[in-house]
Amino acid sequence: MVLETVPAEYYLVLSAAVFCAGLFGILTRRNALVFLMSVELLLNAANINLVVFSFYWGEITGQTFALFVVALAAAEVAVGIGIVLVLHRNFGDVDVTDATTMRW
C-alpha cells in the first residue's frame, strides 16, 4: 500500500500545518463565517491525527472516532450558522468583535 510507504511524521506535519492555519484564522479574522471555517480546519487537523494513529496502531477505534468528530462538526456548523444569523440580525454585520455588549 502507498500509505505504508509514507512515514507517520509527514502526516503529523500536515496536521500541524492545517491546525496552525485554523488557529491563524481564529486569531486574525473578524468575519464570523471565516471564523467557522477556521474552526472546521482545527477539527479536521485533529481528525487527520486520529486516522493516522489508528492506521499505524492497527485499530479501527480511532477511525470510528473520526467519524464522530465529523458528525460533531456538522452539528457545530448548524449551531454556528444559527449564531451567525442572530449576530447579523442584532448587529447588522457578521463581525465577531462587534458583539461585546454582554461583557460587564
Binding site: I26, L27, F35, V96, T97, T100
Partner: protein, 674 residues
C-alpha cells in the same frame, strides 16, 4: 378504657370545630356562629360533667399519651397526652360552664347590639375555649406550654376585637407582650425540666414531680448544683409563665388594659381561661413546688403582695370594668398566696368560687354596659337597681361573694385561704405572717371597693340621662346571670371546712374529693405529706383548732364588713360625693397604677431601646465595618480584573493559546525537556 375517656378528646374538639365552622362559614351560620358555639360548649359541658361524675363514682383516673411528636429513645420523647384526675376534671367543668354561659351572653352583648365581625368573634371564643380545655387536660409540661401559648394568642385576638379603634389593638399587643415575657421563662423552664428529668409528665411515679422527690431524697446534684437549688431555679422559671398569665406583680399591667376587649371576653379571660391558667399551672405541678420551700415562700409573698397592691388601686377607679379588673388581679393574688402557703385545696376552692362570681360580675357589668349604651363610667350611672332587677340582684350576690361576706361563696374560700396561711405561719414558718397580713389588709380594701362599685352603679339617683332610661336586656343576658347568681350564693357549700370542724359533719366535699388517692400522686393528701416533709410546713393553733378557726374567720369577716360598712357610710344616699378625690396625691398615684406602666415603658424605651441602639451602632460600625472593608478589597480587585473580559472572541482564543503555551513551557521545564 372507660367509654367516657375515649370521648375525652371531644371535649377539646367540639369548641375547636365551632372555631373552624365560625371561621370559614361564619357568614352563613345562624347568628354568625353563636348557635354553633353555644351548642359545642354545651356538649363540652355535658361531657365534662360526665367525666367528673365518672371520676367521682368510680375513682378511675385517666393518664395516657395520645400522640408522640418526636420519638427519641436516646434522650426524651416529646408527646401530647391526656391526664384526667381530680384537678383537671373539676377544672374542665368550670371552664366549659363559663364558656357556655359566655357564648349565650354574647348573643345579647354582641349580636343584639349589632357589633361587626361576629363570626371572627365566635371563632375566637371557640379557639380560646378549645385551647384552655386542652391546656387543662395536658399530661405534660410541653403540651401545657403549647396550649398556654395558644390561650395567649386567643386573648390577643379577642382583646383586639374592635381593631379599628385606637385602644384595643394597643391593649391586645400589651397583653400579648407582657404574658410572652413571662412565657419566655416558662419555655426555658420546660426545656430545663425535660433535660433534667427526661420527662415532663405531671402524674404518676414516672412523672417529674415524683422523680424530683426521689432526687431530693437521694441528694443528687445536677450540673454542679444541689438538687434543691437546681429545682428551685426550674420552679422559678416555670413560675414566670404562671405569674405573667395570672397577672401577678410585676406582670399585672396587661390585665386592666385588657378591659378594651368585649365584656363577655373579659368574663371568659378573668374567670376561667387566661388568668386562671397561671394558677392552674402551679396547682398542676404542685407536687414539684411542694418540694421547694424557697419557691413556695416567693409564691406566697408575690400572691399576698399582689392581693393588697391591686386592691389599693381598685378603690379609686371610676370605671366599673376597671374596678373588676383590679379585683381579679387581687383575687388571683389570694390563690397564689394559698398555693405558696401550702394550701392546695383552698387555692383550687378559691379558683372555683372566683370563677363563678367573677364571671357573674363581668357579665353583670356587661349587662349594665348594654343598658348604659356602652358608657362604663360609674359616675354616670346610679339608680339602676329599680330598672334592672335581675342584673342588680345577681350583681349584688357576686359582689358580696367577692367581698367575702358570710354566707356567700367567696367568704368560704377566702377564709380558708387565710386560715391555712395563718396556721402554717403559726406552725413554724413565721415569714408567712407577712403574706397573711397583706392578705388580711386586702380583705378590708376588697369590701370597700366592691360595695363602692355596687352603690355607685345601682343606688342613689341616676346621674345621667341614659341611667334614667336604660336600654333593656333580654333573656340571653338574664339567664346566664341567674345561673351564675345562684351559684355565687351556694358554691361555697362544696367545701364547708369551718362547718365540718365546728360540728363534725362531713361537708368538706371538695377537700375529700381532691385528697382522695387515685394512684397518680396528684392528690391533696400526697401534697400535704410533701409540704410537711420537704417544705417544713406544719400546722399550729392559737389555743385550739376551733378557736383559731373562729378567730381567723371573725377577723377576715370583720375586716370585710368594716370595709363594706365604710363604703356604705361614704357612698349611700341619693347623690354620693367623690370621696376618693380627698386622697389627693395618693389618689393620683393610685389612678396612675403606681406608675407601673410608665416604669415598664421606660424599661422598654429608655433602657432597652438605648441598649439596642448601642448594639446597633457596634454592629453597623465594627462588625459590618470589618466585613465591608474585606469586601471593598474584592470589589476593587474585581473591577480591575474584569477588564480582561473584552467580549471579543478572538481575544479569548488568544488567551487560551497563550495559556496552553504557558502550560507547555511549565511542563517542559518540570519534565526536564528543556
Amino acid at each position: 378504657m372507660a367509654l367516657i375517656y375515649e370521648l375525652t378528646p371531644a371535649i377539646v374538639l367540639l369548641p375547636l370545630a365551632s372555631f373552624a365552622l365560625a371561621l370559614f362559614f361564619g357568614q352563613w351560620l345562624p347568628k354568625r356562629g353563636a348557635v354553633v358555639g353555644s351548642l359545642a360548649t354545651a356538649g363540652t359541658l355535658g361531657l365534662s360533667l360526665a367525666t367528673l361524675g365518672w371520676l367521682l363514682t368510680t375513682g378511675e383516673p385517666h393518664n395516657q399519651t395520645w400522640y408522640t411528636l418526636v420519638d427519641a429513645e436516646a434522650t426524651f420523647d416529646l408527646t401530647f397526652g391526656i391526664l384526667i384526675d381530680q384537678l383537671s376534671a373539676a377544672m374542665l367543668v368550670i371552664v366549659s360552664l363559663i364558656a357556655f354561659l359566655v357564648h349565650v351572653f354574647s348573643l345579647g352583648y354582641m349580636n343584639d347590639e349589632g357589633e361587626p365581625g361576629l363570626s371572627r368573634y365566635y371563632a375566637g371564643l371557640g379557639l380560646f375555649t378549645a385551647s384552655m380545655l386542652a391546656f387543662v387536660i395536658a399530661d405534660n409540661l410541653l403540651m401545657a406550654f403549647v396550649f398556654f401559648e395558644l390561650v395567649g394568642l386567643c386573648s390577643y385576638l379577642l382583646i383586639g376585637h374592635w381593631f379599628t379603634d385606637e385602644a384595643p389593638p394597643s391593649a391586645a399587643k400589651k397583653a400579648f407582650l407582657v404574658t410572652r415575657f413571662g412565657d419566655y421563662f416558662f419555655l426555658v423552664g420546660v426545656v430545663g425540666v425535660l433535660v433534667t428529668f427526661g420527662t415532663a409528665n405531671f402524674a404518676g411515679s414516672g412523672g417529674f414531680p415524683a422523680l424530683a422527690e426521689e432526687a431530693l431524697a437521694a441528694g443528687e446534684t445536677f450540673f454542679g448544683f444541689g438538687a434543691e437549688t437546681w429545682f428551685s431555679v426550674l420552679g422559678l422559671l416555670v413560675l414566670g409563665g404562671a405569674l405573667g398569665k395570672s397577672a401577678q406583680f410585676p406582670f399585672h399591667t396587661w390585665l386592666p388594659d385588657a378591659m378594651e376587649g368585649p365584656t363577655p371576653v373579659s368574663a371568659l379571660i378573668h374567670a376561667a381561661t387566661m388568668v386562671a391558667a397561671g394558677v392552674y399551672l402551679v396547682a398542676r405541678m404542685y407536687g414539684f413546688y411542694a418540694l421547694l420551700p424557697t419557691v413556695l415562700g416567693i409564691i406566697a409573698f408575690v400572691g399576698g403582695f399582689t392581693a393588697l397592691f391591686a386592691a389599693t388601686m381598685a378603690i379609686v377607679k371610676d370605671e366599673i370594668k376597671q374596678v373588676l379588673a383590679y379585683s381579679t388581679i387581687s383575687q388571683y393574688g389570694y390563690m397564689m398566696l394559698a398555693l405558696g402557703a401550702g394550701s392546695y385545696v383552698a387555692a383550687f376552692f378559691h379558683l372555683t368560687t372566683h370563677a363563678v362570681f367573677k364571671a357573674l360580675l363581668f357579665l353583670g357589668a356587661g349587662s349594665v354596659i348594654i343598658a348604659m349604651h356602652h358608657n362604663e363610667d360609674m359616675w354616670a350611672m346610679g339608680g339602676l337597681k329599680d330598672e334592672m332587677r335581675v342584673t342588680y340582684l345577681t350583681f349584688l350576690a357576686g359582689s358580696l361573694a367577692l367581698a367575702g361576706i358570710f354566707p356567700f361563696s367567696g367568704f368560704w374560700s377566702k377564709d380558708e385561704v387565710l386560715f391555712e396561711t395563718l396556721i402554717h405561719a403559726l406552725g413554724g414558718s413565721p415569714l408567712l405572717f407577712g403574706a397573711y397580713a397583706m392578705g388580711l389588709a386586702a380583705v378590708f380594701l376588697t369590701g370597700f371597693y366592691t360595695i363602692r362599685m355596687v352603690l355607685l352603679t345601682f343606688h342613689g339617683d341616676p346621674r345621667s340621662d341614659t341611667a334614667e332610661d336604660p336600654h333593656g336586656v333580654r333573656w340571653n343576658v338574664k339567664v346566664p346571670l341567674a345561673i351564675l347568681g345562684v351559684l355565687a350564693v351556694v358554691a361555697g357549700a362544696i367545701n364547708l371546712v369551718p362547718v365540718e370542724k365546728l360540728t363534725g359533719a362531713h361537708v368538706a366535699f371538695l377537700e375529700g374529693y381532691l385528697e382522695r388517692d387515685l394512684g397518680l400522686l396528684t392528690h391533696g393528701a400526697h401534697y400535704s405529706e410533701l409540704l410537711h416533709d420537704y417544705a417544713g410546713y406544719q400546722s399550729a393553733y392559737v389555743g385550739s383548732e376551733v378557736t383559731t378557726l373562729l378567730l381567723g374567720a371573725g377577723l377576715s369577716l370583720g375586716l370585710a364588713l368594716l370595709g363594706a360598712g365604710t363604703a356604705y357610710g361614704l357612698y349611700r344616699g341619693a347623690s354620693p360625693a367623690r370621696h376618693t378625690e380627698k386622697l389627693g396625691g395618693i389618689r393620683t398615684l393610685l389612678m396612675h397604677n403606681y406608675y407601673q406602666d410608665e416604669y415598664q415603658v421606660w424599661l422598654a424605651e429608655g433602657a432597652t431601646v438605648r441598649l439596642s441602639a448601642a448594639a446597633d451602632t457596634f454592629d453597623q460600625g465594627v462588625i459590618d465595618g470589618a466585613v465591608n472593608a474585606v469586601s471593598s478589597v474584592s470589589l476593587f480587585a474585581g473591577s480591575r480584573l474584569r477588564r480582561l473580559q473584552t467580549g471579543i472572541v478572538t481575544n479569548y482564543a488568544a488567551l487560551l493559546l497563550l495559556g496552553l503555551l504557558a502550560l507547555l513551557v511549565v511542563f517542559a521545564i518540570l519534565g526536564g525537556w528543556l
